[in-house]
Symmetry: D3
């Protein structure tokens, strides 16, 4: 059983039930989630040994975040306790032409104020095969950036494969700040997930002039971006999801994986969206699972995109789809017939 | 800040949760709504000074209706208290081929039995820029028709612009009764909202023979109806929404505005419907907002139709969309991407 | 008023609210349902005298199943009391590419362990016009198969028309077992409902080689299967629904009726699915209602398919659509406009 | 199996969940209830043949009231359909020093506007042993009083025992009106349930001067009132509950039965109240059950008061306690130990 | 209509439904509350003009707090907008021996970081009769203490009566800090509410040696504390509630008012607790209402304690009891009989 | 950190919300629980290493039971997967004079049909300090009794302290069967928990004639029973809770611990009951925690009884109280004051 470690923030998610707006809601659904935590839950659901590293306050809200992870089998033994608060985000689910809305209240969280002494990387990476983080973690604070760097160094030291999901968040830092910090982290990274916008904002990389017909441009343009990323950072793989947002209710969903020489474009799914938060994370966990268990090229990207297609139908941040369900879908059965 | 006054009935709305049918429901969601009340809430959300005039009983159910309006900033100072009951409507939300169903239980309501002495129009219209009512209010009872007439006369006396939404309701009166009463009110009206069916049933106005190709017929036919309405009643504007009911879940939605010389047809939205009750009212409030704040022609109709597109995604009668959200949509972003 | 009798199992249905997965749900919606029970409720809603025969335990869960039927007017006077447990099924509602999932926990139920002495068929069929059962009932146990056979014999003896819905369930028996038992029951059957898969698995009947263009193949192939069924079992009618599963959220829905000489293909509905469990049963009850009240051919199949289209929009196993609603839809109004 | 017929109004009850106040509630729990309907449900739960007679509108809300009764086995075959609306009452459940609050919205209901032609008493009383009504029914309207009188006459004609629960409601009529109408009905009554306040307000009967020690005064005073009632109206039995309202959460609960010669005082229960609406009706149904099945004196009043003690723990108007549960409690087990 | 102004923090309150613990809850009930906000809502419910002053962020969660106040008629015109976040508190409701638990997450809130420029006290106190604040507000931050001082000075300048509820909160500051800041504020205060613990921790005032029998000691001791408070700060009135915590479910509740010469002890209520958060605030609002409308001595303390007894039965921070309900209780009817 | 192992059944618990009866409930709250599982969760909450051993089916309902345990930190690594079903119990919560009701549907569960090969006791008891089981486990089936015996033998072999909670369940076996099986298990037991009824039904041990005054009889009688148990089975400790069932809402709660020489009677708590299922298990886990961490005599029994007093206020089977909360209560603070 492969062991994957992730580092990041887990937040309390407070969402309005149904399609209620914030201003009309008298209760909130309670979930817990965050990029790297979501990846861990999904990997644990696939049967891997998934270890999540963060810091949460000692009170019951912090404990509830830990419990949410334990419930799905995530190893929480290396979660540090202390600090003042758990980050929070408020979510209002959109429909049709009305977009979903997220209000962050995450400043001053325990993980944003964590220090290197909170974590014993030697123990954490013991037996680990893979380390994953997102661009959100170093963006939380200078302290968090420092912790991320320590983690990356330790991962490399212990021979662990490292993946990143660029995930640029404009409310957390500027492109300049992001570029500077992320640059220093990329040398430890083997697999990079990030879309065109991330690549441009964080690294100033955009598709070079390409003379191709419209309609195919996205794939080729993205392949070109991926090529530049690999040339600059020497990644083994670059991957990106390709979301077509028809409306808050309906999206097209596919992905592209590139290894510097060859690219694999996945099948495209037409999604009726139940909950799209965590969609990108479910792609990351799908890809990590695929690669760490030995899938390659087309198979890997198909697994990842099928996994994340399923996530869009599941309430909460976590992808609660099983390996078997992902396999069934990637093998072609998306008919939705009742499983009796 | 412009001040808009509306007069009408606010009802207790009892709706089954989810897609439950009446006969299987063990609880009802509680909302309050009614044509003119809905317009007020939406205008208050856009930042206007919106004053709603009605009469509700002194008990807590009446108070709850007032509270529902205050919550969103509506001025309720001129709501009269007394009478026996608050009107009620029961709502079952349909899906796909099953239509939504409304059961009215509104007879004998406080507003239906209100008398002119319940309202001091001089105070009510103090500082007002606009007055709006619908064809439902005079249909409630002879008393209510009398109150409506008093309000129209007062509005004109105080130089207030008047709009009407024809809204013919067959359960409340016959076309003959409607025609007779509405005729007397139209002389005070500047802006008329009403679809072809309203125009025909209330005023006997239908599209004159037109030799045009199918597919465009609706717009031209409606423009012809609008022309006749203006010729007869000297309105400044006539407007109508153009709903294409594919099913209870999916509608096409656009609108047309006409000023006697020129017509403006809006963009069409494909709606996934969450709650379509109050859709027409949200068009009215969008149009009033647009016109009272100085938008014209295409801009005005685009604001109104975008506003009402958003309403279809919001539970309850009220349009809880903000001015900024409407502007974002009318400027073209209906992609539903998560707003972080 | 026609009297229809059905025999079968009614189960406690425990379903996760919304689109929650089993592993994340902290409450279950409680419904009761089962093929023949669902047929009875629907027929009672149409105004027929519908009598449901089963056996339930004496405790409150058993009583709740009876109450669920009484609530909608089903005659429960011949439900036997005793045995250890009520069968249960767990339901997780899917969306988009994620299929709905059913977990059965129905072994050892009261009806599975019922014996002929539990039922007085002479009294049960007194005044009856129609008897309906599904292939699920004899599959429950040898005892249940014996009870079903007794019922069929009695129905014939009292001159009652008999219908069956083949409904092969692989978790209950093998094709061999099914074929053997169902063969003996078919001699009592007048109207057979069953799709191609049922026909093949239970009776080894598949479409004979047909040289026709793709796209029309389903109807012709199914007509061929129906023809073979009639030739072998001398049915008066064979019918089947034709479900096109685009996804768990969207289906195409139509049906075909065949009388050995002529076939009638219904209109096709594009369904947005709220709850598809009981969809087949609602077709059966629609067809029984149509035939027992004298509809024929195209009218009968249109009634049945419109009825079951509506069912897909109603939570729970039961079709709570009225005769008037079915008639409105089959006459062409599927626009979903609000009924005020 | 004894058959009991009751006549009265069934209303839609809309109550706030938990201890929410009306002005803060965004949903209402839906129940259906009314004095005589509550009696029928309880009798059906005890195993009697209970027939409820009323008039409800033809729409789904009316149907839901019928379904609520059918669910618990009440015979609804003689419920007349028509009229404009179902009566409604709003309920806010109190606690501690805050009283529960009821807002009635029952004017113009179908039963209040029913006429004698709506009911065929010959059929209704066929095979009946007992007829029960409350003072609420004739108070609804002159028409309803007329219908009640017709029912009483028919009951006597068919040799049916008649009981009344005086239930004076000050919002429906004055003491003078009540006295006049009730006087004419009492000649048909055999068993009268009513407390001191009812006796005084409706019939001007109050306890004659009695020289007894405090603490026992209530029982003696009530016995004196009962004596006067019997002398005036020739009842066979007079009964009353004796509620001690410590607070909205805690009550003392006992009862007294008197036959003109002897009185039986029940055991007293200390109640923790879950839902006290319908408490009096559950006493009435307990007493009717006891008397119609042959219990006498102490046994009868103990059954009735134990039954109604249980009702106070059950949400909704209906007493869903079984005969066995009542027997267990009246035989002394009120320990509340878990029944496994 | 008297105008009362209060200044303080309004927080988002997230509470577990029923008696669920934090670690098992999958949804939170949403309320908004805070000491001075609670006072305003209650005063608006009594019919006064209640103006709440605070600062909330511009986003929808901030707006929801404003809406919660508007819903009950509070004047929110002087609420400043800006800052990063709305303070939050998590609440788990206890029962029996298990205490309710509050987790604060209020640091860095908009009001804690407000500055004097956010408020125009001249406008705010225009027409005001009374100003109220609690010891929580200056404890939020140095900035908030400064704002409070400005408010007190302005209140005095405009001749407004000032009341304080000491409300020492150990998580916000030390007794030393509290004493220092509160000392400077007391010179502006006319009416002081605070219990023995507050007096000791904040001002080092404890009951002087008193030779009295046990059982009466609390009242006398508290009177002695009150006397010292008045001697030191020249208050017109000192008041305190006297809570006897038998368990989380049951409390004794009374209060004492003292004017330097005479003390009035209220009636004691035995409370079954639904929600005790805001209990102290409801006493404060009751006392302010009583004093500002001219009640004196015994009447004033009885109004205040009856008001707060009712609050303990109402979910949420706000006291939603009306003036009439308080009057009914203080006049002796705490029987909890259903109000029909 | 001490390691405790328990063996038993975990069931799906389906309970009606609030005080609803089974026959009126349209949803069930979902919890998972069972004697030994409850003990494990509580011990994990206290900070011990708690390992639960059972067998659950491979489907999602089985997985949900595992997740419920993992959520609270229980070690589920030795739960065997397979079998047909998870046992179920239905729970209706009583109030006042109405008892809670449990309907079991647990026959044929995976653990009832487990075989010794499902468990590797050598690994399971590795590092264990304590083993606990209840009389329910061997009562499930002969197979389960065999597995229990294997576990006891292995525990002794590995030097693990063994405790049993007698927990006689009349629906599972007769006193004769129980006595025979339990007799063989007692030789491995060190600590026995069981009340008088258990002792009498299972082992035929009842209090010998004792000449003592009423009121103290329970303690002395129970001490006598405990003495006999120790003489017969050589237990180190015998303990029992002493429940006084005033009603379903209110209980007295204390306990007695006896070591063959000395007995310790705990403080008595007056409980307002939220959920009493699992009350006995929470006493067992409290006692195990106390003894395994070195508490003795009075301290041990006070910890156990305080722990279980808290459990009665917590929804679900599990005791979610922390060690700190138990300590606070046992040290005397049961005032229920809000913890801020």
């Amino acid at each position: 059983m492969k062991r994957v470690v992730t580092l990041g923030e887990i937040m309390l998610r407070l969402s309005t039930p149904g399609y209620n707006r914030f201003v009309q809601s008298q209760d909130f659904d309670v979930n817990y989630g965050g990029g790297e935590a979501n990846v861990c839950v999904s990997l644990a659901n696939y049967g891997l040994d998934a270890r999540f590293v963060t810091k949460v306050p000692k009170h019951e809200i912090g404990q509830s975040a830990v419990n949410a992870l334990r419930r799905f089998g995530v190893d929480t033994d290396y979660i540090s306790r202390g600090g003042d608060r758990l980050g929070i985000y408020f979510l209002e689910t959109g429909a049709s032409q009305r977009a979903s809305k997220v209000i962050y209240d995450r400043a001053h969280s325990a993980i944003a104020e964590a220090v290197p002494e909170d974590f014993n990387w030697e123990e954490i990476f013991d037996g680990a095969d893979w380390f994953h983080f997102t661009g959100i973690t170093p963006a939380l604070s200078e302290k968090a950036a420092k912790v991320t760097l320590e983690a990356c160094k330790a991962a490399k030291k212990f021979g662990v494969t490292v993946s990143v999901d660029l995930n640029y968040r404009k409310k957390l830092w500027t492109p300049e700040e992001a570029g500077k910090v992320m640059e220093t982290l990329m040398e430890y990274v083997d697999v990079c997930i990030g879309n065109e916008e991330d690549a441009e904002l964080v690294f100033g990389i955009s598709a070079e002039d390409t003379d191709i017909t419209k309609g195919e441009i996205n794939h080729n343009a993205y392949e070109n971006v991926a090529k530049q990323l690999i040339e600059r950072f020497n990644f083994k793989y670059v991957a990106s999801t390709l979301r077509e947002s028809y409306s808050a209710s309906d999206n097209g969903w596919s992905a592209l994986l590139y290894d510097g020489e060859k690219s694999w474009l996945s099948k495209k799914y037409d999604l009726r969206i139940v909950d799209r938060v965590g969609g990108g994370d479910s792609f990351a966990s799908g890809l990590i699972y695929a690669l760490v268990t030995g899938m390659k090229g087309q198979e890997a990207v198909e697994y990842a995109v099928a996994a994340s297609a399923l996530k869009h139908t599941i309430p909460g941040d976590f992808n609660l789809a099983s390996r078997e369900e992902v396999m069934t879908l990637m093998e072609g059965d998306g008919s939705g017939r009742v499983q009796r």
